[in-house]
Amino acid sequence: MTKNKLFGLIDLDTRFELTKFKLVRMLFKSRWFPLLVILFNLAIFLVILIAGFIGGYSSGNYNFGVMVVWILWWVLLMFMLVPVFARSWCLMCPFPIFGEWFQRGKLFGVKTGKLNGLGLKWPKALKNMWLMNFLFLGTTYFSGFFTVRPLATFILLGAIILLAFIVMIVFEKRNFCLYMCPVSGFQGLYSQFAMSEIRRKDPEICKHHTPKTCFVGNEKGHGCPWNLMPFDFKKNTYCGMCLECFKTCPYDNMAFNLRPPGIDLLVDTPREPKGLDEAWKAFIMLGIAIVFFLGFQGPWGWLKDMIRATTTKGYLGYIAGHTIFNLLAIPSVFFIFAFLSKLFSGNKEVSLKQVFINFSYTLVPLGLGVWIAFSLGIILPNGSYILHIISDPFAWGWNIFGTAHFPWTPVFTKYLGLLQGGIMVLFYLFSLVYGFRLSKQTYGDETQAKLGWLPILVFLTGITIVFLWLFLAA
């Protein structure tokens, strides 16, 4: 394998700038974009909220809210938005629009000077993914209700919209999105794998440009609402892709690039360091995927009963087991392999903590692969319901597109296991190619890197075999 080529084929430095096309750059610089997309999604989410409220406790498979959020949106997110376009959902997310409107006092225009609201700084101790880790894990405690009870989806989405508004009144800019939103954390983590990025073009222009309008804003646009430094982006994790930096840069020095997948996994800078918070996010996402697969796509009825709270005791058992599995069990097993890695490498300089953190990023491609495979298990059997609910969104007997009576039609479910297995193998290979590079980054020395890589290779292979068994045999 060539040193700087992915699978010996694609140069890791390859970039294809989409904003070099006039039309794309014009779109990115327009204040109507992404506002119009957000407003469109706001209307869709209002329909979702109405359907969720009206649907109440009825079954989820004929409910617009449940189907659009947990089948269509989730699958789009995991299949396309995150792996291809990074945090592009944040670009079009309608949840913070009311808070942002309040802060700016304007929907379209640019507010100069201090934003409305208390404008408090986000606590330094919470400037990481920990809060999102706990909130996302907490949300999954109710996963047995969200997918079957429209009212549960209504409550969840309503709570997120309300919380976003309150937090944006108290704290400055989009700290809710950056540090609280349950959807934000995993998008950030998996966006490191994404096939696109927003980066500055010529570092020299940024170096000599003062003030940094992408950070402080100007009459064309707001300073980065995510409180980041667009002139020094090195990875996708926290960039919400709001496109304000395209509007504020007088030199058109920002670019939207297509790139080989996964290269952010190798980035570790003082401004955007690798950390335990992101490591735990990787563990939690992998753990949740395992639990969800066993609970929702596996044949074990007793587990489904626990998740759906058939009995209080069973439900409490699920919460306890789910928490321990995600926060302790998976990290503990991984810790053993990280320890073995350091032992095998013979390296004395690198700390065990650093080994543990660095190798945790090998779980990003694998975890994303698991979620894509899991999403296939959602969309192929249940996708046909979408034709039904777009014609009759409130179960009132409407037939807008003439598809209200389209029967439940599973698609390609005969090949579901094979497709899921194929995806797993592909993303396992991504984990391997980046894993060995991470090993070289961690240990420096080639021989140490090879020896230290072995235990992690065993761990990743073991996880993949477990999933292949689940997809193909269980």
Binding site: L42, A43, I50, G56, Y57, S59, Y62, F394
Partner: protein
């Protein structure tokens, strides 16, 4: 800029209040135009018949549009007018037609044992 701001505010109102008002206005118009009554069937613990009470005019042809939005089978009957649907399967919609020839309040009910609370799955037909 001011025109754009006004347009943006108009669009957000359209996306929120517009959708909300639009949805319910369309439904109100549709219910008035297409049929006399619509009933949604759900087991009592999930919401029961919706609505529980329906009013229809005496001596005129009545159409009841019954939609089962659950994953279990329900049935429907108004014994006083000898109206019955043996089975309304999961996700199915049925329409019953009859002409109520007497005034008063009459019970309607589910006729398939759908849950432990099946016997509570009842409603009232008011003929005025």
């Amino acid at each position: 800029m001011k025109t754009n701001e006004r347009l943006a505010v108009f669009l957000i109102i359209l996306a929120t209040i517009g959708v909300l008002v639009g949805v319910f206005a369309i439904e109100k118009y549709r219910r008035g135009q297409l049929y006399t009554v619509q009933l949604t069937a759900r087991v009592p613990e999930n919401g029961n018949w919706y609505p529980r009470q329906i009013s229809v005019p005496a001596g005129e042809k009545v159409r009841i549009y019954i939609r089962n939005i659950e994953t279990i089978t329900h049935g429907f009957a108004i014994p006083d007018f000898e109206v019955a649907v043996k089975e309304i399967k999961a996700g199915e919609v049925v329409v019953v037609e009859f002409t109520p020839d007497k005034k008063g309040t009459f019970p309607f009910m589910c006729t398939v044992w759908c849950s432990d609370h099946h016997l509570d799955m009842t409603g009232e037909l008011i003929v005025e």
